[in-house]
C-alpha cells in the first residue's frame, strides 16, 4: 500500500515540479548561451544581465515553491473534498504521511541538485569543476580524521535531516490550520509562523544556557598546517543541539499530524 501511495503521489507532484525545474534549467542554459555569445561572463550586456536576474529569481522561486507546493498538496488531498477519497482509502494516516512526505523530501533533494546544476550551467568551467572535486575529496577525507571530523559529521547529518523537518513542519502546520474551520489556509500559515517562532526561542534559550563552554582553543591539523580554532567546541554543541531540536520537531510534527488526521478530522 505504501508503495502504491508513493507511486501516485510521486506521479501527481512531479507533473508540476518537473515542468518548473525544467524551466529553471532552461533559463540557466539561455543565460549561459547569452554569456558565451558575448564572449564570456565579464562582458556587459543588458540581455545577459536580465537573463541572469531572471534565472536567479526563477531558481529561488522554484526552491521555495517546491516546499510550499508539497505542503499544499497535502492540504488539498487530506483536508478538502479530495479528503473524502484519501481518508477512506484502506491505508493508515501514517502511510499517507510517509508516502507524501518521502515524495517531498526527494523533491527537495532534487531541487537542490537542480539549483547546483543551474549554477554550474551559468558559471561553470573546468577550473570550477576541479576546485569542487578537490573540496569534495577533502571533506570526505576529513570526515574520518582529525578534530574536524565531528563537526563535519554534524553538518552532514543536519543537511540530511533538514528536508524531513521542513516536510513535517509543513504537514503539522497544515493539520493545525485545518482546525480553524473556515480559515484553514490562513490557520496553516499562522501555525507555520508559530512553529518558527517557537523554534527560534528554543534555539536561543539552549544556546544561551550552553554558551558558557570551556573555551580552550582546539587544535586542527590539516595537512602540515596547524590551526588553533576557538569555539569549535561551541559550534559542535550548537550543531548537536540543533540536530536534537530538529529530531524533536520531526517527531512532534509527525505525531501532531497523525493525531489530527485520526482524531480531529472534520471534512465539510
Amino acid at each position: 500500500m505504501l508503495r502504491k501511495l508513493f507511486k501516485y503521489e510521486w506521479k501527481a507532484a512531479s507533473q508540476t515540479l518537473i515542468v518548473l525545474h525544467a524551466i529553471v534549467l532552461l533559463f540557466a542554459v539561455f543565460t549561459r548561451i547569452s554569456f558565451e555569445v558575448r564572449g564570456g561572463i565579464e562582458e556587459d550586456s543588458a540581455i545577459s544581465g536580465l537573463l541572469l536576474f531572471l534565472s536567479i529569481m526563477i531558481t529561488v522561486t522554484a526552491a521555495i515553491f517546491t516546499v510550499i507546493f508539497i505542503g499544499y498538496r497535502f492540504y488539498k488531498s487530506v483536508f478538502t473534498d479530495e479528503g473524502y477519497l484519501t481518508n477512506t482509502l484502506p491505508v493508515t494516516p501514517k502511510q499517507l504521511i510517509i508516502s507524501k512526505g518521502l515524495t517531498g523530501v526527494i523533491w527537495q533533494a532534487l531541487d537542490i541538485v537542480i539549483v547546483f546544476a543551474a549554477v554550474f550551467i551559468i558559471v561553470g568551467d573546468r577550473a570550477l569543476f576541479e576546485e569542487l572535486a578537490v573540496n569534495v575529496k577533502k571533506t570526505a577525507y576529513y570526515l574520518f580524521r582529525g578534530n574536524v571530523a565531528v563537526t563535519t559529521w554534524l553538518v552532514l547529518i543536519t543537511v540530511v535531516l533538514t528536508p524531513f523537518a521542513y516536510m513535517l513542519k509543513m504537514y503539522a502546520s497544515v493539520s493545525l490550520g485545518s482546525l480553524f474551520s473556515g480559515h484553514k489556509l490562513l490557520g496553516a500559515v499562522g501555525s507555520y509562523i508559530g512553529i518558527y517562532i517557537v523554534e527560534q526561542i528554543i534555539m536561543f534559550l539552549t544556546i544561551a544556557i550552553t554558551g558558557n563552554q570551556d573555551s580552550t582553543p582546539t587544535t586542527i591539523q590539516l595537512g602540515i598546517v596547524k590551526t588553533e580554532v576557538e569555539g569549535l567546541q561551541l559550534m559542535n554543541t550548537t550543531l548537536a543541539i540543533n540536530i536534537i531540536l530538529t529530531l524533536v520537531i520531526m517527531f512532534v510534527g509527525f505525531f501532531v499530524t497523525k493525531y489530527i488526521m485520526t482524531k480531529k478530522l472534520n471534512l465539510q
Binding site: 473534498d81 477512506t88 482509502l89 480531529k264
Partner: protein, 232 residues
Amino acid sequence: MSKILECQGLSKRYGKKQALKSVDLSLESGRIIGLLGPNGSGKTTLIKLINGLLSPSEGTLLIDGNMPGVKTKEIVSYLPERTYLNENQRVSDIIDFFVDFYADFDQSRAGDMLKRLSIDPTERIKSLSKGTREKVQLILVMSRRAKLYCLDEPIAGVDPAARDYILDTIINNYDENATILISTHLISDVENILDEVIFLKDGQISLQTAVDDIRVNQAKSVDALFREVFRC
C-alpha cells in the same frame, strides 16, 4: 444473518452541539436500509463515523466486528455528497486508482456502466458536467463488491431521469451478502426499494422498522409517516 454494523451508546459532539446522542443501532447484512431524517438530524455524522472520517465522542461503533480503520475501509464503499474526483484526472485514471487500492473493485462492471452511459473513459473529469461526474462517482462506489455501501443523499439535486438511473443501479448491484445504507430526505422516491428504515431525529433514533410493517400496521407510506413524525 450477521450484523454488519453495531453501534452502542454512540455519541458525537462538535463543541457545544451534540450531533448524535447515545445511539444504539444494529444493521443486518443483505438489506437495503434507509437512514431518514431532516437536515441536521445527524445522518451525515453517523455515516462519517462509519467511514472513519470522524471519531466518536463516546460509545462504540463496529463494522463487521471491527472498529473503523484499514480493515473496515476495505469492505465499506462510500458515496459522499461531495465530489472527490481530481479535475485533472481522466476517468480511466480514477478507475485504475480504484483497481489498485480496492481488491473488491470489479473493473468490468465499471466498464459496462460507463459504456451504457456513453461516458468516454479518456475524458478528463473537468470536461464532464456535474451530473456526469456524480454518475462516475456512483459507478466507482457501486463497482466495488463491498459489504456495506454508504450512500449519502445519492439522489438529492438530481434530475428525475438520473434519479431513476441511480435507483436502478442500486437495485442492479444489490448483493444479498451486502448492506446498502441510503441516507436521504427524499423519501417517496426511494421507499419502494427499502427493506428497513431508521428515523433519526435530533441525533437519536426515533424508529427502526421493516418498511412493510409500516404499510401493514399503519396503512401508510413511509413518506406519510415521516411527515407525521417530523411535523414542523
